[in-house]
Symmetry: D2
Subunit: 340 residues, 4 copies
């Protein structure tokens, strides 16, 4: 088996982290090309990232990186608006793609990606919903699939960040944060989301002026289940991702994070992880390892372009629901043959 | 201090249990009169209950029991529709009352009770929302009042029964079950409920035909908090009452019930209580003990008639929301001076 | 049923607390006499305690209190060395006794109590090992008795105090603290303790100079089980009493105390109770309520004088083991007919 | 960086698992030679294992495998008695070694390994105490090193297997099982073990005839701490490895394994892993990844030959203590300069 040559598009925190990951913990792959997505005319950031990797070249243009010699697959970690173009470049060359979420910022772009894959004739695009590779989520999925708690009725989800970056908007609570629960819910339940309602309590005083944080997002699904998501991106105390599935004969909860219990000074308990790189470190590693193995065989092993499209469609409805305060239905095109 | 003589109205499960409780674990009180609320012309049930208590007389008529010699206070454990009349009889005699929830089935009856108390000129009626006397709820209330997690933003509540009695209706999930969360939320937050939304997933196959079980009930409050309640009365696996309060700087959760952890046959964990008499045994005891102490001083020590009225008003809005599927506002009369 | 008249001997923290308890939460009983055990020639402390109770008289002499009119039973909460005399006074009058642990400081005194009971011809003395009335211990006992985890092989016990009083000695870690585990182990297992070994790590720097704290006390039992007790009376962080029973087919653990879980400032967890009055409040209440009910029938409902004797004998062996550093066997007299 | 060529000695369960691991999840390394340790004259087992790996050759003789072209490092997973010879072969060629525990079955063999390393002049041998690479143990170690709970006083350890293999002996509870706690304790505390005591309760009826299972093993350390280990290799309900460290100002516990909590049929709780490959899967992966990275630089990154020697010396004392029933001191040679 030859080593898979990867072009990494995007040189921010996520891109650099993927470059490090491929070098450190992913066997059978190496980074051969690095490019920033946008606004890096001299390619300085790409050069800095590539400098740490033997045999990796820096490019000022994503298309050139994708077309570089030895590139067998493309990992896209650029900002969302740059995804569509980078994916289309890769599909033109029939290269496997791992694209950080969102696939595209809106459903229309995602439909164009679906159309491009249809022309290629096989699924090449995987979306970076890494929760599907988390050990706890995998156990929950197995339990649900095995009927361990009967038909699912509710998913009660909590998604909390210690604080949000300065550019975060009320829309992004839904399109950037809850989108993870949208995919997790679709995957865990094997159902599509059909409607969204958003309730917004009086914002936390810890939230920046104008940010509607926290919110309660309610998803209805094609199988009659209800998903409620508390999204709270300035909770102050840490990063928490929890999910309780309630079924007809039992419930199951993940995300409590009880690895070590400490007792001191009148309190028992443990630490709360401060960000997703701690909580989901293994999931990111496993995602890329499995993508590399699948890409070497020309396959997708994880959420595909349809999953990216569906998430974008739910996001769009969620944004409308958040602005209007009323229940908003989700509209999906018919699912193409390729994704059934 | 003389022993408080109590008339118990209602001879069903709750009434008989209160009679036992007063004899066993409540100092300073004794049952002197017992009457069934309705349809017991020969008073057989009352006789059976009274037979176990030295010095207790059985009556066929609640009014007669209330008027019996030695009656200092009245405990009402009859069905909801019989509450109003029994309370009014007691108020005519200016006797302290402990009335099982609901105070009355609808807000109109509760308003008549408020008016009767106004005529007496002091608060004499306490409603049996016993969760306020549960040790875990008390700790949560203390934490919230002390600002331990900042201003509350969410209460995430779970209320599950192993199975529902045969007469249970979809309305009763709200008026008989969620009403406990309505009172708990009002008390924990110190706020009124302003609107109700009800979402109903596809019913569990374990629910009787026609019963909309489970449901997700969403309450909005005057202080801008949101309360979500999963009510599931045929969950099959036990009785669970949980509440997670999420505030601006932390969260707190009660009801996990981790008293004993057992490890065997490949599983770790514990038992789930099968009904409320186990989970809230201490709360019932403490409620009656504190009511007896307060009644001996002519006072109320717990949820009062206004709390009963507010719960009835929220219930009414909840029933409308459950039937219509849309958000329904709660209308309250102005709070009388007596209850401020 | 008449109200049980109780003489309380001992006016320290425990005595005063029992007087309060009988007034507040124990139905069917009242305090009629109070005496300090020793060194209270003017009876000022007894007067202070009695002053708060209607109908209670203060005495300067325990014997006089026991002999006072209306005394039906005696509760002894004086220091250990005063127990024997007070018990013998009560037995002369054939009065039921609840005696705080230890029954007596040494096995010889306990044997004299056994002999006095033999002369009376029935069991009248109960020892205040209140853990037997704790809800968690009761559940553990039920589980063991039902064979829920098979034949018990180990009890792993933790007994921690935030700090020890100034008069505490290395011996008292065994005779005053571990003695609770001695009784709990005998009761849970239904076996006698046959040998004791004590290991002493380098003392904690938080322990007062000269105090061998913490220690690990190992008990062997007649049924071939082993009990290890970590006793740590200056742990600094709170009061913790835990017990894990390991059987042939499972294990069970109590004492984790997970009533409320709080998440804030990067930590999840809960409070640790700071002393036994919090942790065992209900157990103390229940112990006295059940003793009152049993005493009214002339019976013992809890650990009896034999249990007090056995604990004293194990204590004595434990003190020797602690001083010598080697395994020390426990010697018991043959169990009299009365206690079989 | 070139790929590290590894010879794997031993073709049993562990050896085959390491071969799989190097292929699947360890970047920068590949298996180039495989040999069984003993009694495989035709090399059939080695051929079977090598067959699955591109470029790997099978050998009938460990020495030949070690001397094969392209071998940069040696991983030894043969039975304990074969370790010494295989290590000495590798040291003759100055190759880095990862040797499964025990380093050697007795301290004398380990001393010969130390002497061989001394001749080479640098540390090349790492012992497979994989717990040091487990995320929970690492967090506990960090906490202890940071003084998070003060100076450690106790380690309370539980080590349970669902059942033991047919060849397991009473000695092996100590030399094969508790040896993991011996290394973990030395590493966590940074202290040597100075004495061992073994208490044996009446064996579980689930243990094979003649096997003294379970046992309680007590270690004393050079810093005055005490380590108690419950070893129970036929507990029936699963594989559990727990450690509670108790320090002067707090305690910390790992190994509860609360990843997913399920509620059904009257019980809450989770699964117990059935063997070490589940519980320590990540630790094994990380151990080999870090050894590969260190070996490529000619270094050891983990427990070294001195750790292997010390564990063998404690084991030897433990076996004597288990047979005699009395406390047995551990004798260590002076620590050579190379290991300070």
């Amino acid at each position: 088996m030859n080593t898979l040559g990867i072009a990494v598009i995007g040189t921010g925190k996520m891109g650099a982290d993927h470059v490090r990951r491929i070098g450190d913990t992913v066997g059978g792959a190496r980074v051969v090309a690095v490019a920033d997505a946008v606004a890096d005319p001299d390619g300085d950031r790409a050069k800095a990232v590539a400098a740490g990797v033997e045999g990796a070249a820096a490019f000022t243009d994503p298309a050139a990186a994708t077309a570089a010699p030895g590139v067998d697959a493309v990992l896209i970690a650029s900002p969302g608006p740059a995804h569509e173009e980078a994916i289309l470049h890769a599909l033109e060359r029939e290269l496997p793609v791992l694209c950080e979420k969102p696939l595209t910022p809106d459903p229309e772009g995602a439909l164009r990606v679906l159309e491009a894959e249809r022309r290629v004739g096989r699924r090449l695009v995987q979306v970076g919903f890494m929760r599907r590779f988390d050990a706890e989520y995998e156990r929950l999925k197995e339990l649900l699939d095995a009927g361990g708690i009967g038909r699912p009725l509710f998913l009660h989800c909590r998604h909390r960040n210690a604080s949000s970056p300065s550019f975060f908007t009320s829309d992004m609570l839904i399109s950037d944060s809850v989108v993870h629960e949208v995919d997790a819910a679709r995957w865990l339940l094997g159902q599509e989301v059909t409607a969204v309602t958003v309730l917004s309590p009086r914002p936390s005083s810890a939230a920046p002026e104008g940010l509607s944080d926290p919110r309660l997002v309610l998803l209805e699904t094609s199988g009659g289940a209800i998903v409620d998501v508390e999204i709270f991106v300035n909770c102050g105390f840490g990063y928490q991702v929890r999910c309780e599935a309630v079924g007809e004969s039992g419930s199951a909860r993940i995300g409590d994070g009880h690895a070590m219990v400490v007792e001191s000074a009148g309190r028992w308990g443990g630490e709360i992880a401060q960000d997703f790189t701690t909580r989901f470190a293994d999931a990111y590693d496993r995602q890329v390892r499995r993508w590399v193995a699948a890409a070497a065989r020309g396959r997708v092993d994880g959420p595909d372009a349809w999953d990216g499209y569906a998430a974008a469609a739910v996001s769009e409805a969620g944004l409308a629901a958040g602005r209007s305060g009323v229940r908003t239905e989700v509209r999906l095109v018919e699912r193409p043959e390729l994704y059934r």
